[in-house]
Symmetry: C2
Subunit: 135 residues, 2 copies
């Protein structure tokens, strides 16, 4: 087995798996518990490298810091406006519907769609039951 060059990179990857769609700052806080001398720059650099190499996804939300996701299959995200949690979609959204939207966009803009960013916002199941609609 080849020697790993950087322990930091591996520990960052492990922290990412433990956290839920964290920001770089959240990864930094988590990694610091094992590696107190790590710098935020190292976290950013490794996260960016891993994103380039396809080992993780960098998610961009409006008016908010980027988040990182170790699930690299094609999926989308829905965030809860009450609790802030971020939920992953599964393959059912991508199958068919996204292609249909792409074609509709192409029909009216002329742009041959190659990729897309889709972010959904609303109220998650837990917050829905915490705040009943009658209230």
């Amino acid at each position: 087995m080849a020697r790993r060059y950087s322990a930091q990179k591996e520990i960052i990857g492990e922290a990412l798996a433990r956290l839920d769609h964290p920001t770089a700052a959240e990864v930094y806080e988590e990694v610091r518990r094992n590696l107190p001398q790590i710098s935020l720059g190292t976290v950013y650099r490794n996260l960016s490298l891993m994103a380039e190499e396809g080992e993780l996804l960098r998610l961009s939300f409006p008016e908010a810091p980027d988040r990182f996701d170790p699930n690299v299959y094609e999926h989308y995200h829905a965030s809860c406006v009450c609790c802030g949690r971020i939920f992953d979609t599964d393959g059912t959204v991508g199958s068919g519907l996204v292609g249909e939207i792409d074609r509709a966009v192409e029909a009216c803009t002329g742009v041959r769609v190659e990729s897309r960013v889709m972010i959904f916002s609303g109220v998650c199941a837990a917050c829905q039951s915490a705040t009943p609609p009658g209230k």
Copy 2:
């Protein structure tokens, strides 16, 4: 007719109509031609106020400054990866398809979708003909 309080705000609105999905900095440059002493802060403040009042849309793109759009009807955007231009969709995208996606997202995440950001990227018609597929 009531006096307008701020000439700046009106001139910003006019610049917006003249430009194509501009950033705040681009609005600033345009407005400066008529109002050389205007400050970037005034442009930002008025654009933000107008967005709050529903007079325009603030568009957020990943890794890029926000852009502003005087078209306030519900529509989406496709940007060309070659020339950078941004194209508006018309009502055909929103009708039906978006509701279907919302329902699919709700089915697999539990989030009752209230709003969404969708940004499409690809090659526009002009750039497609400029760079024929055979090449």
